[in-house]
Amino acid sequence: MLDDVQIVVEDLVKRFTLPTGSFVALDRVSFQVREGEFFCIVGPSGCGKTTILRILAGLETKTGGDVAIHYHANGRPRSAMVFQGEAVFPWMTVEANIAFGLRSQPMPAATRRDIVRYYLDQVGLTPFARAYPYQLSGGMKQRVSIARAFATDPEILLMDEPFAALDEQNKLLLQQELLRIWDESRKTVVFITHSIDEAVALGDRVLVMTAQPGKVKQVVPVDFKRPRHIPELRRDARFGELVYDIWSALRDEVSRARESRGSARGEESLP
């Protein structure tokens, strides 16, 4: 094992039990994430990528295998999550939302205010400090969510498809913004997405998953130098090649999954 490995996932198994029976969501998933690495997990919906993140965050239990996080216990939280969809509290102002994670950390009120002010500025929401989420657009709400996670200064940032609900223009803006903020701290990031494009644009390595049950297909290194400029990156021929390679790896899986589902339906309809 390498020295700077921070997250070790070994033969992770997750089985969900439903009234209709149980199914395996994650089947012996193994990977390692280095400290300071931007690690992306990409896969079709239903491959269990969100489950991995929730297990890492301690919001979900594992059925088998091992998940370990090495961290420096220096008062910083182990991890902070940027959730999928609308996860900013609608009853709190932008300011209060960003301060939420800081409330559990002992610090003078002035320090807390400074941190909030800094991240408000980082995500460009200073004029909206006192606004409520209903007054914000989808992209602005996601910025609040990102600022809230960064503000706690966690060892690991967990991001669950944070830009999935945004339009193409906003998505690009926020991806670029995320890279800029991340560049300052170089925290360990585990970033979940179903967009191959996004994974390649942001990540140092991309873990490709297959669905039903969720398995690791391969891990693809992405060695574009940083800081990255995403529109420029997209013009790079190597970018297109990487995206194509990952897509080819996934394509067989996606069609296989669709066929098996189709045949399952066919069987059900038999008398």
Partner: protein, 280 residues
Amino acid sequence: MSTVVERNGPRIVWRAREDTAGRVRFMTTRHREILMSIFSPLVVLIAWEVVVRANLVDARFFPAPTSIVGTFWALIRSGDLASAVGVSLTRIGAGFLMGAVPALVLGLGLGLSRMVRAFANPIIYALYPVPKVAILPLVMLIFGLGEMSKYVIIAIAVFFLVLVNTIAGVVQIDPIYFDVARNFNASRRDFYLGVVLRGALPAIFTGLKLAMGVALIVLVTAEFVGARSGIGVMIYESWQVFAIERLFVGLVVVSFLGYVLSLLLDELERLVIPWQRDRR
């Protein structure tokens, strides 16, 4: 005016209607709305007056508004009205607090725990539909004819409505907010006050408003049956001595009380739930 491209074929031209944005309006829509809602009760009052004066209804049962106004004034000057309203409002206030506060605390707890809810639900839903007026004799038996029995019966009525709505309010909170609270290590205080209570507040206010309406019904009924003062007593005694004008004054005051109390709750809601879109 837009130009229409000449074409062969049927010469029918359709144009979009113009809006009124360019015109100068005498009043805004909001002002006209307010005027309309002042106007409607006036129409009813005038129609009532005319119908009575034309002898179309029996003035002994439906005295004209103008004759009620005289009695109203007399009751205000004697102080009878103020003391009746004071007594009734105190009962509503005390009963409301005694019912709503425990309902809120219990509702938050029940909303959070599925198991406790499963345990308590049969009890709640067996007691909830009992007409609260039906247990008034029992309450008077236990708490006597004094003020406490009025507080208690109002509290019981308020309790169930607030409880049921608080539970519903907590249950409908998106679980993602609980995940966020856990992920960011929220303290107990932040969790209960900052997430659970605030998330349930809109539903809690629905409960409080419903409870206010029911509290008025229960108040007047309780005062009919066993009280020496209050607005319900004023109405009931008026019936007994056939003081029809005074009876109507009582009715007007009760309806006005209900109106003012619901306005107060609306205002309070606006204050404590500033994150909701203006629902005007």
